[in-house]
């Protein structure tokens, strides 16, 4: 058997005449944590709804362990556990009753398994209380418990860190890593905040306007940064002279911002560059070097504050 847990093949969705998802194709491996990033309105939730069969595909197919969500719905969805948007539960029932409710919908879930899942997410103490009294973090955990009941091969979490405090976010992150590693579960996490899930993901797909504009491996990214270019910002006078010198000697096209100039350059070679500028009697007030992070790339790709 192949290692592919879920595969999207040219998935399209139109509502009315508007094409919301414009042909997504990617696959997720077993045991991999895949981050699904995009600004609000990019089509993340729509894609997730299609992955679990809540919305019909206009075109293309979603295959879960080889089973098509279109033609083999039950077999396909059997392998999926998901939270779609908020972890909404029946507020008038206790956590235990909620879990039992869902456990009755899939054959082969024992009471023992329900208890196991409860302790996995650490809800033992409040499981008999009504969900209406739960905090958002507790409901988020109950949502994860619900998604894990039937030992799915794929766990889909839509905005799992929404409304959580930093400690809660960290806990969920650790938890996701754990189940991906130990149980070889493929995890798909969507978020509009890259920083929150960057550390937990193996790969990150960036979606904008219904198109996958980039898929990057996080590990590669870190390695790249070791030798890659850094963003250099220099506060110097006179600016024009400095610019000319850099152009002549190093062929750098720097940008001017107010009193400073900025450009990309190899970190290791920066001291030499500074020495050169000093020797040419340029006054340097400040040198700032920052790494080009994934976040910057993300903004580069999607554009800041642009929705839709």
């Amino acid at each position: 058997m192949s290692n592919v847990a879920m595969e999207l093949v040219n998935v399209k969705k139109s509502i009315g005449k508007k094409e919301i998802i414009k042909g997504l194709s990617f696959s997720i491996q077993k045991g991999e944590v895949f981050g699904f990033i995009g600004p609000n309105g990019a089509g993340k939730t729509t894609t997730i709804r299609m992955m679990v069969g809540l919305m019909k595909l206009t075109d293309g197919d979603v295959k879960i362990l080889g089973n098509s969500i279109k033609s083999n719905y039950k077999e396909a969805v059997r392998e999926v556990g998901a939270i779609v948007e908020n972890p909404e539960m029946y507020p008038f029932m206790s956590g235990w009753q909620n879990l039992m409710h869902y456990s009755r919908m899939i054959p082969g879930i024992s009471k023992g398994r329900v208890k196991e899942v409860i302790s996995l997410v650490g809800l033992e103490k409040v499981i008999k209380e009504k969900v209406g009294r739960y905090s958002l973090g507790m409901r988020q955990r109950l949502g994860i418990a619900q998604a894990l009941l039937h030992n799915p091969s794929i766990l889909i979490l839509d905005e799992p860190t929404n409304g959580l405090d930093p400690a809660g976010i960290r806990e969920i992150r650790e938890y996701i890593r754990k189940i991906a590693k130990e149980q070889q579960v493929a995890v798909i996490i969507s978020s509009h905040l890259l920083a929150e899930i960057e550390q937990v993901c193996d790969r990150i797909g960036i979606i904008k306007n219904g198109e996958m504009i980039s898929i990057q491996s996080v590990k590669d990214q870190e390695e790249l940064e070791q030798e890659s270019l850094s963003q250099v910002q220099l506060e110097v006078t006179p600016i024009n002279h400095a610019m000319n010198l850099l152009k002549e000697k190093y062929e750098i096209d720097a940008e001017v911002n107010d009193q400073s100039i900025s450009f990309e350059y190899n970190k290791a070679d920066i001291p030499k560059l500074i020495q050169f500028l000093v020797s040419e009697e340029i006054d340097i007030y400040q040198v700032e070097i920052s790494k080009v992070t994934l976040e910057d790339k993300f903004f580069d790709l999607i554009g800041e504050n642009v929705i839709g």
């Binding site: 709804r49 919305m55 719905y73 039950k74 077999e75 779609v84 909404e88 899939i106």
Partner: protein, 325 residues
Amino acid sequence: MVKFIKLLINEQLKIYIRKSTWAMYIILAILIIGFAALTNTFEDTNKYTEDNWRQELQNENEALLNENKEFQEDTGAEDDDFYISFNMDTIEKNNYYLENDIQPLQYGAWQFTMDNRGLLSVVSLLTIIIAAGIVASEYRWGTIKLLLIRPISRNLVLLSKYISVLLFAFFTLVFVFLFSLIVGTVFFGFEGIDPHFVTEKNEGFAYISVISEIFSGYGYSLVNLVMMATFAFMISSVFRNSTLAIGIAIFLMMAGNSIVSFFGDREWAKYILFANTDLKQYADGNTPWIEGMTMGFSITVLLVYYIIFMALTWVFFTKRDVAGQ
């Protein structure tokens, strides 16, 4: 099948775990006890004894005749006036007892249960509320998403919900029946295993079993109940809004008769749902609302409506995308 029963358990649990459902049953219980107390206070339920029942009936007849005479003198009403003919009916019924030498039945639990068939409209109301909420609430809570991502077809989920509504109606009906019997026994005593009484039937007065009257009375009311519950269920699935479903269904239930009489002279009036929900119009010597209607005609019209309701419910629930609110 096991899967389906588990779905039913889920749906029943979600109905009965909520306090609002229990409030419904408490209201029904209070109504039943209230009726019993009222009947006990304002009616002499123990007047026909072994020795004096003949005398008692004759006295009653004389009193009724006097009443009619006075009423006609006071108002100049004709012989076919409603009030007059009502009294005349009672006199005829009393005469039937006398002629056939049947001692009228003491009022008791069975007759109280029979009189409570009017409560079935309350049961209809409660069933409408449940039917209106059972799909729409899942959307309102957002739980529909978690419900539909299980390896179970939407058809089965919807069917379990519809059957659950009917089960709720059935349980509530049984509750009204049993609780009326118990309260009736406490207030008026128990008439025996199979008591009989005299009532007007197709072929005039007849001496028949109270229990069979209870079943036919409850049975006829069930038609309206099921139709309105199915209607509310449809609105609930199509518009995903329980308030709308409750509102429209209860309004139509209340206004149904007025709608029919308003359009009564039109050719198509007999095709209106509410002209057909009361199948009792064909029994017990009643005349149908609109000339030319028969039991078979009404059943056909009801079936057509039922199929339309069900088809709309199913198409909307199973084919539609579950999108955000």
